[in-house]
C-alpha cells in the first residue's frame, strides 16, 4: 500500500513546522509519513463507520493484515538501520522480534486469569498441564502492563547489548558476525522449543483474551492495535532518520566503509556498533510486541533462522540504506506472500523466489532504486 502511492506527489509542506524542516529533502520519508497518516485516518473510518456491504468498507481481516505488515515494516526498519547504515548484517533479528513478542505474550497470558482451560487463577494452561506448582520467577511482574512494556524493549536491548559487546569488542565482523547472530537465534529457537523453558514449548503462547482490558477480538481493539502500529512505524522511521542524519549516522556509515580508519580517527567503533545494535534490537522488540496481539500467537518458529533471513530479504528488496525502502520491501513481500499463497497455493514459491531473483538482477538498488531512476530520468 505504501508502494502504490509512492509515485503520487506527496504534500510538499506539512503543517508541522519542525517536522517538515526535518524531512526537507527526504521525499521518500515524507511520502511514507503521509501514507501512514492517511491510512491512520481512513482505515478506522472505513472499517468502523462504513457499513459492511459497502464497496468502501475495509474488513477487519484487512485491518489485521495491514497491522501485521506494519509490524514487519518496523522490523525491517530496524534491520536496515544496522545493515544499511552500519554494514552489520544481522541474520538473527528475528530473535529480538520474538523476544519482544514473548514479553507481550507473557503479559497477555497473565491477563487470561481464570479463563484458561483449567481455570487456574495464576498459572497459564501449559503450566497446569505440566504439573507446575508455582509460576517461574521470570513470569513475575508480567501481570503489569508497564512492566511488560518495559521488558519489550529491555530484554531484546539487553541481549543485543551483551551479545554485541562481546562480539564487537573482539572485532567479530562481517560474515562471522552474521553467522553468529544466526547461531544465536537458532540456539534460542531450540531452547524455546523445550518445554522446560517455561514458555510454552513448541506451541508457544496463545489463546489470548484481552489487552489492557480491551477484548482482543473486538473490532475496536484491532483498530487500536493497527493505529499503534501505524504510530510505531512513523515514530520508528523518524527515530531512525534522526539517527542516520546525525553525525553519529555519519560515523556509523564511515565504520561500514572503512572501519580501521574510523578507529584511527579516534572513534570507539565498538561503542557505536553496540549502541546501534541495541537500539535496533529494541525497535525489533517493539515490532514483535505489536505483532503478537494481532496474530494471536507467539511461538519458537519466529526464532527460526529463516524468519530472520526473510527480514533481511525485505530490506534488500526494498532498497538497503534508505529506511523507507525497507518499509516498502516488508509490506510488498508480505503482501505478495498473502496474495500468492491464496492465489496459487501449489506453486507460489516460484513466483516469490522469482521476484527475489528478478529484483536483485534488474534493480540493484531495490525498489527504491527503480523509483529513483524514474525520478531522475526527466532531469537528465
Amino acid at each position: 500500500m505504501a508502494n502504490g502511492s509512492l509515485t503520487t506527489t506527496a504534500p510538499t509542506v506539512l503543517p508541522l513546522g519542525p517536522l517538515s524542516r526535518f524531512l526537507a529533502g527526504d521525499t521518500g520519508g515524507t511520502i511514507l509519513l503521509a501514507v501512514l497518516a492517511v491510512a491512520g485516518v481512513l482505515v478506522p473510518i472505513l472499517n468502523l463507520a462504513v457499513p459492511e456491504g459497502s464497496a468502501l468498507h475495509i474488513s477487519t481481516y484487512t485491518v489485521t493484515l495491514l497491522g501485521k505488515y506494519l509490524t514487519y515494516a518496523l522490523l525491517a526498519l530496524s534491520v536496515d538501520l544496522i545493515w544499511g547504515f552500519c554494514g552489520i548484517l544481522s541474520l538473527g533479528h528475528g530473535a529480538f522480534f520474538a523476544l519482544g513478542g514473548y514479553a507481550m505474550g507473557m503479559y497477555l497470558m497473565r491477563q487470561i486469569g481464570t479463563r484458561g482451560e483449567y481455570g487456574h487463577p495464576v498459572l497459564p494452561d501449559f503450566m497446569v498441564f505440566l504439573d507446575w506448582e508455582r509460576l517461574p520467577w521470570f513470569w513475575y511482574g508480567f501481570d503489569q502492563f508497564w512492566f511488560a512494556a518495559l521488558m519489550v524493549v529491555a530484554v531484546p536491548g539487553t541481549l543485543a547489548f551483551v551479545f554485541g559487546w562481546l562480539a564487537f569488542r573482539s572485532r567479530v565482523t562481517g560474515v562471522y558476525f552474521s553467522i553468529m547472530t544466526q547461531a544465536l537465534t537458532y540456539a534460542l529457537m531450540l531452547a524455546f522449543f523445550r518445554n522446560e523453558m517455561g514458555l510454552g514449548g513448541n506451541n508457544g503462547l496463545t489463546d489470548f483474551k484481552d489487552l489492557l482490558g480491551f477484548p482482543l477480538q473486538a473490532d475496536g481493539t484491532r483498530i487500536g492495535l493497527f493505529l499503534a502500529s501505524v504510530l510505531a512505524v512513523g515514530l520508528g522511521y523518524l527515530v531512525c532518520r534522526f539517527i542516520v542524519t546525525s553525525r553519529l549516522g555519519r560515523v556509523v556509515t564511515a565504520i561500514r566503509d572503512a572501519e580501521a580508519r574510523v578507529r584511527f580517527t579516534g572513534y570507539r567503533v565498538e561503542h557505536y556498533k553496540v549502541w546501534l545494535f541495541a537500539v535496533s534490537a529494541m525497535l525489533a522488540g517493539i515490532a514483535g510486541a505489536l505483532y503478537v496481539p494481532q496474530v494471536g500467537i507467539i511461538n519458537p518458529s519466529e526464532l527460526s533462522p529463516v524468519k530472520s533471513i526473510e527480514a533481511v530479504v525485505w530490506v534488500a528488496l526494498g532498497g538497503r540504506g534508505t529506511l523507507f525502502g525497507a518499509v516498502g520491501g516488508a509490506v510488498l513481500v508480505s503482501y505478495a506472500k498473502t496474495l500468492f499463497t491464496g492465489w496459487a497455493p501449489d506453486i507460489w514459491p516460484f513466483f516469490l523466489g522469482g521476484l527475489f531473483v528478478v529484483v536483485t538482477l534488474f534493480l540493484p538498488a531495490g525498489i527504491v532504486g527503480l523509483l529513483n531512476r524514474f525520478k531522475k530520468e526527466p532531469q537528465s
Partner: protein
C-alpha cells in the same frame, strides 16, 4: 444455479509440513469431487477453496481468517500440527467457523468450533501400551519423543499409566530430541544398552516427522531388530514408510485407527478411488486421510440433517451422527467433538504396509481430557445443551475456561 457451498482446505503445501499435509489436500479434493459427482449437497455444488499456510503457524491464523471472513467458506478441513490448530482456534471461535482436524493429537482440548477426527491419546497410545504389556510381555519401556506437546502429553499419560500398572520408575526411560533430529547414533546405542538388561524392552515412539527416517535407519544399522526391541510408533504410517527402505524395519509396529492393508470392501474401494484420483498406483493411504474421510462424511450428513450449512445448525446436528469406518465398524461424533474409533496395532511388512496383529474388540470413544493427568481428570466436555461446555469440572461443577466471563 445456486451458489456453491465453499469448503476451505487449510493444509501446508510448502515448508516442512508439506510432506504430510499435501496428501490431505488431495484427499479433500477427491472427496469433494466425489460428492459433486453424486449431485453435491442440498442441491448445491461443493467448491474447494485451497490456500497454503506454508507451515508457518501465524500464517495459519491469517489464512483461516481469510477463509472465513473473506472467502466466506462454510467449513474448514485443515491443520496437522497442534500448534497450527492452536493458532487457528481463536480465529474459528471468533468468527464462529467450523473446522475438522484429522490428526492424532495430545487431547486436552475441546473447542465448540472444532471437530477432532483423529485419535485422542486414549484411542492410540494407551491401547498400544496395553497390547505390548499384555500380549508381548514388555517390562521395560523407552518413551522416545520429539520435544513438543504431543509426545510430552502422551508420555506423561503413559508414564502414569505404566506406574499405575506396577512398572518401576527405573524401568521407564523418557527421552526427547529436537525436531528434525537426524543423528541417532548415541540414542539408539543407549536404547540398546537400556534394552539389554534382561527384561523385555520396547520403545514407544512419538518421534515426529522427518526425524523418523534417520531413526529407523540407525536402528537397522545398529542391528536392533524388532524381535529384540520392538518400536511402536504413534506418528509413523504408510506415508512415512513410503519414504523409507522398509526391509530392515519389518516387525516394528504402529498404533493407528486405520491401516491401508485392512481388506474391507470399503477400504479397497477407497484405495482404488484414491489411486484413480492421484493417478499413481504406488501412492498409499493413511490414517489422517481416513479421518478426513470420516469428518467429511459426518459433515455432509449433518448438513443434510440440518438442511443448511449454517454453522450453529450443523454444530448441533452433527453430534451423534454416525458414518462407517473404512476398516469396519461405525464412527460416531461424540458430544465432546471427538469420535469413536477402533484401535489397530500393525507390524511393518517388507512392502511398507502394516499387518494388523491386534485390535480393540470394539470402537473406543475419544476422551478430550485425559483421566491420567491430575489437571484434567475431573474435566469433561459436552457441547450439547444445557451443559454446552468444553471443559466442565465434575468436581466443582463449573465450566472453566473460555466460556466464563
Amino acid at each position: 444455479e445456486k451458489d456453491p457451498i465453499k469448503v476451505g482446505v487449510l493444509h501446508s503445501l510448502s515448508g516442512t509440513m508439506a510432506i504430510s499435509e499435501t496428501t490431505l489436500k488431495d484427499t479433500m479434493l477427491m472427496l469433494i469431487e466425489e460428492q459433486n459427482e453424486q449431485g453435491g449437497l442440498l442441491g448445491r455444488k461443493l467448491k474447494p477453496v485451497v490456500v497454503d499456510p506454508a507451515s508457518d503457524w501465524p500464517l495459519f491464523a491469517e489464512k483461516a481468517r481469510e477463509l472465513l471472513a473473506k472467502k466466506k467458506v462454510d467449513v474448514i478441513f485443515g491443520s496437522w500440527t497442534s500448534v497450527s490448530r492452536k493458532s487457528v482456534l481463536p480465529v474459528v471461535e471468533e468468527l464462529n467457523g467450523l473446522m475438522f482436524y484429522p490428526v492424532q493429537y495430545e487431547g486436552e482440548e475441546s473447542s465448540e468450533n472444532i471437530f477432532y477426527t483423529g485419535a485422542a491419546p486414549n484411542q492410540q497410545s494407551v491401547p498400544a501400551v496395553d497390547y505390548l504389556m499384555n500380549e508381548v510381555g514388555v517390562e521395560r519401556w523407552v518413551l522416545e519423543g520429539t520435544d513438543y506437546v504431543f509426545p510430552r502429553t502422551t508420555n506423561k499419560i503413559l508414564k502414569q499409566y505404566l506406574v499405575d500398572h506396577g512398572v518401576a520408575e527405573a524401568d521407564i526411560r523418557i527421552n526427547y530430541t529436537p525436531f528434525g533430529h537426524s543423528d541417532w547414533q548415541s540414542e539408539v546405542s543407549r536404547i540398546k544398552e537400556f534394552g539389554s538388561q534382561g527384561k523385555k524392552t520396547a520403545v514407544v515412539s512419538t518421534i515426529n516427522g522427518d526425524a523418523n527416517v534417520p531413526f529407523y535407519k540407525e536402528l537397522a544399522n545398529q542391528d536392533v531388530s524388532a524381535e529384540d526391541i520392538p518400536v511402536i510408533a504413534m506418528s509413523v504410517g504408510e506415508q512415512e514408510l513410503s519414504g523409507i527402505d522398509t526391509e530392515p524395519l519389518v516387525g516394528h509396529m504402529a498404533a493407528w485407527n486405520y491401516f491401508m492393508s485392512v481388506p474391507t470392501k470399503r477400504n479397497i474401494q477407497f484405495i482404488r478411488q484414491w489411486h484413480d484420483h492421484i493417478g499413481d498406483k504406488g501412492r498409499v493411504t493413511n490414517d489422517p486421510m481416513e479421518a478426513h474421510y470420516l469428518g467429511f462424511n459426518m459433515w455432509v450428513k449433518a448438513v443434510q440433517q440440518a438442511g443448511t450449512t449454517d454453522v450453529d445448525a450443523v454444530k448441533d446436528a452433527i453430534i451423534g451422527v454416525s458414518v462407517p469406518n473404512l476398516t469396519g465398524g461405525i464412527a460416531t461424533m461424540m458430544p465432546n467433538h471427538h469420535i469413536t474409533k477402533p484401535v489397530l496395532i500393525g507390524e511393518i511388512q517388507p512392502d511398507g504396509q502394516f499387518s494388523v496383529v491386534w485390535e480393540t474388540p470394539g470402537t473406543v470413544a475419544g476422551d478430550a481430557w485425559s483421566d491420567y493427568l491430575p489437571g484434567s481428570k475431573d474435566l469433561i466436555a459436552d457441547w450439547r445443551n444445557p451443559l454446552s461446555c468444553g471443559n466442565y469440572n465434575v468436581e466443582t461443577g463449573e465450566c472453566s475456561g473460555q466460556n466464563v466471563e
